[in-house]
Symmetry: C2
Subunit: 512 residues, 2 copies
């Protein structure tokens, strides 16, 4: 029987594409009307307050359409070159499951980067100043911001190149761990070379505590200069943002829906800092306007610039992730490869480092932090870790079930303690050795042998995916992926609550 | 008979590597001694005038050693992935010639880019200002220069990524032609966004001519603003520097020796602009020092900065090309792939665009220009063009001979004219149809048939390599490669003569 041919992408949403392309071009060209001196011919609609931001949304739509179109276009070439993998969670699985082109994060990342390069003149040239209108949103970005923009692109491009090399040559685990760190080198060194800020604002509560202790030499200001340590912190950030997405993987769509929702959350957070909100809306939200004003008083000067910069990166990222998700969604016609994780993870780190909101960024990674902490006993080999930890596909029911790590010998004591605690918390499901069936086997088993009655012989793998399956029972693959998306959205809601509700405990007065 | 296994790189020059690494580290660490406050422990040797430049030479040595070491290390992975080609000019040729790993330009380019990223703090941070010494060569580069540096890295990285995608997926000719242009996008857009200079200094002779004509509105200054056309010119530059090296290819080492010598020539040219030359040397060269001073008066301010910037890119490029040449030299153990051409070509374009010496750069491409012009009749299909135009390997003698394009029908008239002219100039060797052997065939051949007596039936392929073989007779492959190197050196000598001898005819008074 011939193998079923790999399918090249999902059929394209032609009507959507035909609608989006003219909208995208309009958004991009509209701010150029006064630049080209055509205002008298096209007086409507009036020019936007943020012309570069409007164009950026146009570029995001192009990224969406481009990703939709490119992925099936280049899939055959990827399969030809052996960049393909079997979908393990489909009938046939490891041996005869369908071939899916792998590493399609590469064309998406390349497309994104090319669009971001073409976007350079919009915020960084003088084009929106021709009318003498230098108000908020129209000023030419200073050279310093251009430097940051270029550095971020450089880090993203490095992450893409190294990620692709990793996908192609199957680099060993210990060799690929430093890849996000290497990709962050331009960001960190330019941060340093331009006189990087290494002060951290302490929470007011800590500041009060230190004041009350009356430490010698303590000036009372709740800030502390971490100096070299700050760079260690910044260097660890991309390693975390990249790998934490990478280990929450294994089912169709889940590697794409995570960065999609994180990018949306960051976009929402950035938008809060733009002076675009009408007063009635802010008052409706219960945010005072005068002396006690919170959002409005932030929305000035460099803070606006920083968050505009972050938006310029995040909005097209939403576009490209959404376009790729079309092909990556169940049943996946394309796999992202590590390239997409490296690329999106680096994007999050770069905007967080240069926008000075690394702590807020981490809040949007709550599901990933949970998944990482849950995984630790297996990652550090306290509990046996099989090669794949993705859920188990039950061919009879067509549902996903939690996969198990079956132990060949007793795990070390700390591992057993973790497992017992995790089971008590409902995070895993353990199987214990049954009482000996009859006296014969009891004779064979010496008092030192393993397993004895009640010993743990298997545990469901310690990942967020298996945890959801343990708690909620077997379910279909797309349901589980949607559920992860819902968890991510819930995580972001909690993040906003922490940041703007109880933020003063963690963030101190300076809410930038 | 089993195929001979591909050989992984040439044996390493271990003694050279062991000598170079400590030298490189010393060059890099020595300028850091006062930065780390260790001057009292290491008072000797005195600190250099150009600390960042000294460190750059150290990085270049690391690039050399790294390329030597990396190429054989990663070759097996490249062969595994099918990135390999047969060496056509060895016994066995197309069918059983030795396999050689292909596309080894990728690790070289990646290494170079990572070193260039690590180099960022040397020229662009405040580290060399700690001693309060802000003299020539020690000032912190302005943010503007950092922007240019990052942009060049971005273009180089894009060229590397797209070049590798090209090598891997065998992109079609018409799809890969715009690759250098895409890679140049960041350079061009940042040039524009930072208020790019689009004035061109006309030769004094042209200025005089225009003045004598008394053109209306002509202010008399021998400069002209090309505006949009200047960007067209800058956009075509990378297409030329990349592809002109790419089409002068086919024998072991020739794709590496060209950028090596071009980078050396640019380095020499840049060094002329640094204030490092003792007066006696300049007087010895016959260059006055006072009012008529030529070199010394240039060596100030922004001109020094620009050429320092160019040196920072070119010196490590020499290192990485020299390291790769070790493995690429006859008999080649590694092929560069298009990646190396894209990468080096983009490096030349980037420094030329941002250093404002695009015309001087073109002078160093004289052999490539000659090869391109010679190739035009075949590139534009006026003369039949076989798939490979590399020289022919004579297995009996072991020598290379000119390869021929054999015609299946009469080439069009313009092609025939080109061939006759080229033969008259000694650039090609033609074969003509012999007189009909006997009356029988004369009967068969109607008066309209081809070839008739004297018609051209074949011509040696129109490349510099075949031209050298036509003029100087068959030779060994490494001899031909050395000869191309010699031609390149001679071309650079001519370039220096034009630039500094008769330069005023072409360059006008402003010799920057």
């Amino acid at each position: 029987m011939p193998e079923p041919a790999a399918q090249m992408g999902r059929p394209l949403p032609v009507l959507l594409i035909r609608t989006l392309v003219p909208i995208a071009l309009t958004l991009i060209l509209h701010p150029l009307i006064p630049v080209l001196g055509l205002t008298e011919y096209f007086p409507f609609p009036p020019q936007p307050t943020f012309p570069a931001l409007q164009a950026n949304i146009g570029f995001a739509l192009l990224a969406l359409v481009g990703a939709l179109y490119l992925v099936p276009k280049v899939s055959p070439a990827f399969i030809d070159k052996g960049l393909k993998g079997r979908d393990l969670l489909k009938p046939g699985g490891r041996t005869s499951g369908p071939w899916v082109p792998e590493c399609l994060g590469l064309p998406c990342a390349t497309l994104y980067l090319l669009l971001m390069m073409l976007f350079i003149p919009f915020p960084f040239s003088h084009i929106f100043q021709v009318a003498g209108n230098n108000g908020v949103g129209r000023e030419k970005f200073p050279l310093r911001e251009l430097t940051f923009y270029l550095t971020s692109l450089l880090s993203l491009l490095t992450a893409t190149l190294l990620g692709f090399i990793d996908d192609l040559f199957d680099i060993r685990w210990r060799h690929k761990l430093p890849i996000p760190l290497i990709a962050a080198v331009p960001t960190l060194l330019v941060y340093y070379a331009t006189g990087g800020w290494t002060w951290v604002v302490l929470p007011e509560s800590v500041g009060k505590l230190l004041r009350s202790l009356g430490l010698p030499g303590w000036t009372g200001a709740p800030v502390v200069n971490l100096r070299f340590l700050y760079y260690v912190y910044l260097a660890l950030l991309p390693t975390f943002t990249t790998n934490s997405i990478n280990i929450l993987a294994g089912i169709n769509g889940v590697e794409t829906i995570q960065p999609l929702i994180i990018a949306m959350s960051i976009t929402l957070n950035d938008l809060l800092y733009l002076p675009i909100w009408p007063e009635w809306f802010l008052e409706f939200l219960g945010i005072e306007n005068a002396a006690g004003g919170r959002i409005l008083t932030w929305a000035v000067g460099q803070v606006v610039t920083r968050h505009l910069m972050s938006l310029y990166f995040m909005i097209p990222l939403i576009g490209v992730c959404a376009g790729f998700l079309w092909h990556n969604w169940y049943t996946a016609r394309a796999f992202p490869g590590d390239t997409l994780c490296y690329f999106t993870g680096m994007a999050f780190s770069a905007v967080a480092i240069q926008g000075h909101f690394a702590k807020t960024m981490l809040l949007f990674f709550l599901p990933q932090i949970f998944n990482f902490l849950l995984s630790c006993p297996q990652l550090f080999r306290l509990v046996p870790c099989p090669r794949h930890r993705l859920p188990h596909f039950n061919e009879a029911t067509g549902l996903l079930e939690p996969s198990k790590a079956v132990f060949e010998r007793a795990p070390p004591l700390p591992g057993r303690i973790f497992l017992e605690v995790f089971q008590a918390l409902g995070l895993t499901r353990l199987e214990r050795a049954p009482p000996p069936a009859d006296s014969k086997s009891e004779e064979v088993a010496s008092s030192k042998s393993w397993p004895q009655e009640g010993d743990i012989v298997s545990a469901t793998n310690l990942t967020l995916l298996n945890y959801l399956l343990v708690r909620l029972g077997p379910m279909h693959e797309p349901t589980l992926c949607l559920l992860v998306g819902a968890v991510q959205v819930a995580g972001s809601a909690v993040a906003f609550a922490i940041r703007y509700g109880v933020g003063s405990l963690v963030y101190g007065g300076d809410r930038r």
